[in-house]
């Protein structure tokens, strides 16, 4: 009922689900072993930037376009090409269709 055979192996989600549940249990147990020194509304919960004032909330949050900066920078050439491809021009969309049509015609029909 649960196992799927892939031809060279099998996959059983129930085992995996049990493993996940056990892991979370372990995490919960470890967490509950910790110290219970947390108090609300004290200096303890405020962020401390070595004496400097805290930044505004918007500034603290890393923007989506800054994530994976290293990846996008290292693939700069590829991204420049891809941006050039995605012109947003309707004629180009049609042109891509005709290009693929020509390739398929050449490969398939001849």
């Amino acid at each position: 009922m649960f196992t799927i055979e892939t031809g060279s192996g099998f996959w059983n989600p129930i085992i995996w689900a049990i493993v996940i549940v056990v892991t979370f249990l372990l995490i919960y147990i470890l967490r509950s072993l910790g110290k219970k020194g947390y108090k609300k509304d004290t200096e303890q919960v405020k962020s401390f930037l070595s004496g400097n004032p805290e930044y505004a909330k918007e500034k603290m949050h890393v923007k989506a376009s800054n994530l994976y900066w290293g990846f996008t920078t290292s693939l700069k050439g590829l991204y420049a090409l891809l941006r050039k491809m995605h012109t947003g021009n309707t004629s180009d969309y049609v042109l891509w269709f005709v290009i693929v049509l020509a390739i398929f015609l050449l490969v398939e029909v001849i």
Binding site: L95, I99, L101, A102
Partner: protein
């Protein structure tokens, strides 16, 4: 832009060659190879549908469901045009 136009002209001419070959390799004008379906319709229209116009018989009887689809296309287009020119405020 120049690359685009050159690529456009090249693929356009390839497709053009294939289309012209298609036109030349079709069965000769006015001499269809097969006619099973249409001969059946021409022979049986009057008997089965009681219509004297073969095209109407096909449109509304033999392929009536296509016509329903076509009426639906028109309905969808009119609805689409109404949607596009509707008032935005209530």
């Amino acid at each position: 832009m120049l690359t685009r136009n050159i690529a456009g002209v090249i693929v356009f001419s390839i497709v053009a060659v294939f289309f012209i070959f298609t036109a030349l390799l079709m069965h000769p004008f006015g001499v269809p190879d097969e006619s099973d379906m249409d001969d059946y319709i021409i022979d049986n229209t009057q008997e089965e549908t009681g219509a004297n116009n073969g095209v109407t018989a096909v449109v509304f009887d033999y392929r009536g469901f296509d016509t329903l689809g076509e009426a639906t296309v028109l309905f969808a287009a009119v609805t689409g045009v109404i949607v596009l020119f509707r008032r935005l405020k209530k």
